[in-house]
Each structure stands twice: as structure tokens, then as C-alpha cells.
Subunit: 253 residues, 2 copies
């Protein structure tokens, strides 16, 4: 299988590396910035390009892992291609590629950082395709990566993307705020790490609604008042404290 990777960001990097490790022939890496393309091309024994006109028209699979608002313009430059073109965006409809012959979506429901390697066996791949054959190709890619695979249409993928904002992006921001609190009072974020791990581990086997703890779910007003006093100098954190505590009470009481 000959693959062209369009993009060199977090998703592109991890997908390209994972495919390369499975013996896929990664023939080109495109990035607007040739230096970025070159870095990923070097690691995957591929060829870096920065001009969309240079894209090889003979590949079997084109992975478009660019910013959402760049998908349309990339798609324009891939017209008349016979291979399968997929984007990797959670928030973008499959229709963004509908001018193409064979198209689909390969959305990895995971958070990627360049620095941290990731095992694709732990990355749910959400696939959608313009036709049955294309769907089978995407299934075989997922199988090759040993990833759990889910067939998800564009409407439902948007929902997953939204749920991921709550379960990952907002969660990470709460980690940032807890770090801000301990730093502000000269304590060490290190102390919170086991708690963070255990909180995530717990919901691997239990439903989160069944393992809620803390002052809000106990309706412990005294503690909540004390906490808000501590946050007097941090009005933004106080607002978040109040909004989330109110929501916990509404959910549980």
C-alpha cells in the first residue's frame, strides 16, 4: 500500500510513524512548511514536499491531516485522483471531500503530543466512507494498526468530538488550574499526580456518575464556602468552582 501523508502536525506524525512501523510505503509527506515535512519524512523514510501540485497521483491512500479550515483547499488540489482520500477531523463532515472519487474519514479518538509515543492499539479509529469498498480499505488500515474500529457517521463523529472536549481538553485545563493553585501556594504538582491517575483509572471500570466524590456531591456547604474564600484572589477559578459545583449538585442531589 502506497500512502501520501498531507500534514505534519500531531495526528499526521503519529499516524505516519505507526503506518511506517507496519511496513506501509509512505511515499510523500506534504506540509506548507517544508522543514516540518522534512522532519517527518526523515523519520519515515519518505519524501518531503511543500507544493500540493507535486503530490504523487498514484498512491492508494491519501491521509489529509491538516487544520479543519484547510481541508477544503487541499481537497481541491486532489481532484481526479483515483486513490482513497481521507481526512482525520472529528468536527468536519465527510462531505468536505465529496468532489473526490473515493473518500472517507479516519478519525482517531485520542489526544496526541509530538513528544509522547502512542500505541495505536489504544486508539479508537472512527471510520466513514463514500462507498463499501472504501469502507473495507479503512477497516484494513485499522486492523493493520490493531486499533479498535467504529463505523461512525459525520453527525455522530461531531458528538464524539464534543464529548472529547469535555473528557480531554477541559479535563486537561482543570489539571492546569489545579497546578496553578498549588504553585500559587508553593506546593508541588507532583503530589497530585497519583490522584489524577486514579481518577482516570476508576472510570475504566465504573461509570463516572457512580464514583463522584467531593464536597459538592456530599452537599458539604461549609467546605465549599471555605474553598471559595481561598479562591478570592482568583475570580476566574472561583467562577469555575461555582459553575461545576452547581452542576454536580444538579446531577446528583
Amino acid at each position: 500500500m502506497k500512502v501520501v501523508c498531507i500534514g505534519s502536525g500531531n495526528v499526521a506524525t503519529h499516524l505516519a510513524n505507526a503506518l511506517k512501523a507496519k511496513g506501509v510505503d509512505l511515499i510523500q509527506i506534504w506540509s506548507r512548511d517544508l522543514a516540518n515535512a522534512s522532519e517527518l519524512a526523515k523519520n519515515t523514510n519518505s519524501v518531503a514536499i511543500s507544493n500540493l501540485d507535486e503530490i504523487d497521483r498514484s498512491a492508494d491512500l491519501y491521509i489529509v491531516a491538516v487544520k479543519d479550515d484547510a481541508i477544503a483547499s487541499v481537497s481541491d488540489s486532489l481532484r481526479e485522483i483515483n486513490g482513497l482520500v481521507v481526512h482525520t477531523s472529528g468536527a468536519t463532515s465527510i462531505d468536505a471531500l465529496s468532489a473526490l472519487k473515493n473518500y472517507g474519514v479516519l478519525y482517531p479518538l485520542q489526544t496526541f503530543s509530538k513528544a509522547k509515543p502512542i500505541d495505536f492499539a489504544n486508539v479508537p479509529l472512527c471510520i466513514e466512507a463514500s462507498n463499501v469498498h472504501t469502507l473495507e480499505v479503512l477497516r484494513s488500515v485499522a486492523d493493520m494498526l490493531s486499533s479498535p474500529v467504529y463505523e461512525v457517521d459525520s453527525e455522530k463523529r461531531k458528538i464524539l468530538h464534543l464529548a472529547a472536549v469535555f473528557a480531554c481538553n477541559f479535563v486537561n485545563h482543570l489539571y492546569t488550574l489545579s497546578d496553578k493553585i498549588v504553585e500559587h501556594f508553593e506546593l508541588d504538582f507532583e503530589m497530585l499526580k497519583p490522584l489524577i491517575m486514579e481518577t482516570a483509572l476508576k472510570v475504566q471500570t465504573e461509570l463516572p456518575i457512580n464514583v463522584q466524590t467531593g464536597p459538592a456531591v456530599r452537599d458539604d456547604e461549609q467546605t465549599m464556602i471555605k474553598h471559595q474564600v481561598l479562591l478570592n484572589g482568583m475570580p476566574e477559578l472561583k467562577e469555575i468552582y461555582q459553575t461545576l459545583s452547581k452542576s454536580i449538585k444538579k446531577t446528583h442531589l
Copy 2:
């Protein structure tokens, strides 16, 4: 070492089980509800009591793991005891026990569920004591459990407790909301579990502020608007979406 455990909730249960496993002689378990005390006593080869007057006065250590607002009344019934009395509360000052002879705090910075066993090697124990000898006793208890130990005074412990609300209680509530979103649209929470694990794993080695992802940190207004449209039928979640996105932008942009 002879220990009396006062309380039979999550913290009491895990501490009592961990101490028993290390060969500590757990002589009594007290709970207001004798059935609860009996259950824990059975598992730890101890004696259940439900009357504070029955507490053995000869123990070396009394662990008061009851609700915050019950600590004062329990403390009253332990006057004149020579052994060390500690409470386990993050939000309560050591002064709540100041009428006693030897007292302190043993605050495990972790979330406990009855159903899930926990390795105390991953539980930071925050200790504070009324005198140097008492502090040494608490250090030896932490060492016995192989727990990382931190000497933390009452003011700083309150801060840690507050930070834990953000890093654990609020995080778990966001998991609950993400589950609510996927359930509402007939998707499976299972799909989000690898993302939840990876998000927690990432901050074990990186500072959370350095690994923030998602539409808010990219200032991707189009996606944020689409997400809010999806939340039109869930005003409470929409408010949380807006509050947290605003805070992410304020932190990063």
C-alpha cells in the same frame, strides 16, 4: 502497634485494610452504624463497636476517619487518651483535635472507592503533628505503607484539598458530562476511555499547561460555535462549555 479505627467509610476502609495487611493489630472499628463497623471488622479481624464510650483507651493510634463535621464530637469522647489521635481530613485544621494530649493529621491525597482496591505506594500521605515524637510515629506509619510522605501544615493541606477538587472531583464530573453527551446521542462511553487514560498519563511527565489541545486553545471559533449549537438542548453543559473555553483562552491566548 495497636490501632483503633473510628469510621467505616471509604478512607477508613482502605486505611484499615492496608494497615491490617502490614500486620498492624486493629483492635476496634467504630461506626455509628454497627452493621458498617461489623463489615469492616470482619475483613480486618477486628471488633466492631458503635458506642464511643466503648473505645479501648490503651491503643497506640486512633484514626478518626469520619465526616468533617463529626470530628469535633469524636474528639470530645477521646479526651484523656494517651495514644496518638489523628484525623484524615484535608479541609479540617489540626486544631480540631487540640484538646487531646497527642494529635495529628494523616491525610491521604487520593480518591477512594470501596469497590476498588488501592496500593498505598501510590497514595501521598500528608502528615502534621502536635509534637516531634508524634510526627515520627506518623512517618513510621507512612513508611510501613510504603507511601510517599509529605509534611504539610493545616493551611497548605486546605490548598491541596482544593486543588484535588479541581484535579479529581471536577474532572470526574466532566467524565460524567461526556458520558451524558454520548449517551444522549446513543454512542458508547467505552470509546472515550483510551482518551481519558492518555490525558491523565500525559501530565505524569508533562506540565498540563504545555499539552493543552482542543478548539479553545487554537481559538477555533467555528468549531466552538458548532459545539454550542449541539448543546442547545443542554443549557447547563453549554454554560460549562463557555466558562471553561473562556478560561482556556484567557490562560493561553
